[in-house]
Amino acid sequence: MSERNKLYKIHVVDLSTCIGCETCQEVCSFINNDKAFIKVYRVHGGIPVPLNCRHCEKAACIEVCPTLAIYRDDSGAVLINPARCIGCKLCIMACPFGIPEMDPVDKVVVKCDLCSLRRSNGLSPACFALCPSAAILYGPPEEVLKFAQARAAERIARAKVLGELELGLKSWLL
């Protein structure tokens, strides 16, 4: 996307604040008929990584789709039109993250659409709305960046205060 419009929004997972509660996975499977499009993976023996469609700017799935069933909407989300999908699974093979899945009943490919139905009703994606630790960020790129920077600055300040407290405690004890 060369020129971004005002509706353009990004969906980011802040791994440093994710507590691995799997709320996003549960609410996603609740909305999409027991099929979670955001899944929490554990790496290095326990670090949680919620993985969903990245809605890539250079999307390989859009490039390979032979029927132009995969497209990008106004807000930058990559969506699949099930009426055009023929179930050839080329997008599954092209995705660097292995995100799209085959629906065994409808024989079409399904993936995260950032809750397009909720968004058309003026709501935000469900995983963003329900994340208890605000690890999932969704909004215009500038706002998300500002929020993440403010959070990082706050964390540094808190670490400094805590460190000084600890030092003071140690000097008082010894």
Binding site: L15, S16, K39, Y41, V43, H44, I47, V49, L51, K58, A60, E63, V64, P66, T67, I86, G87, C88, K89, L90, I92, M93, A94, C95, P96, F97, G98, I99, K107
Partner: protein, 173 residues
Amino acid sequence: MASITKRLWYLRKAIEVGTVTKKYPFETTEPPEGSRGKPIIDFTKCIGCGACANVCTPQAIKFLDLEEYKRLELFYGRCIFCGMCQEACPVEAIKLTKDFELATTDLKDLYVILELKSAICKECKKYFTTKRITLKVNEDIKDIIEETEYIELCPECRRKQSSLKLVNWRALG
């Protein structure tokens, strides 16, 4: 009187036009434009995606996963010449012909079987798709993505590896 003149008129007409019927099985006729007959598969083009098997209404085309091979079975006995497979095929490998005469004394003549080699995942050593699909995808995306080594991994391994990468990037940054 009127009936006799009418009959004579028919007789004259029949002599003028001559014979119109053909001795069909011995004399072949060209089917009209737009008529549909049995579909044929171009073996060199087929990538084994299974889209034709998904849309096939009478299930004449079956797509079987035989670990080492992916097998495409086309049985003309069930085919209704609807042309859905031709519409669905992403590489235009399957096409309808005008050939509709399928009578045979051997049922095996009505089967077309195509076997395509499966690709192996580098990480978990499982078969996941045909080699031709990986080649086609690699060809399609090399303009927009530089590193295309991930194509040799199965989707599940890709997820695991990308989540591992995300954590490692976080640790570095």
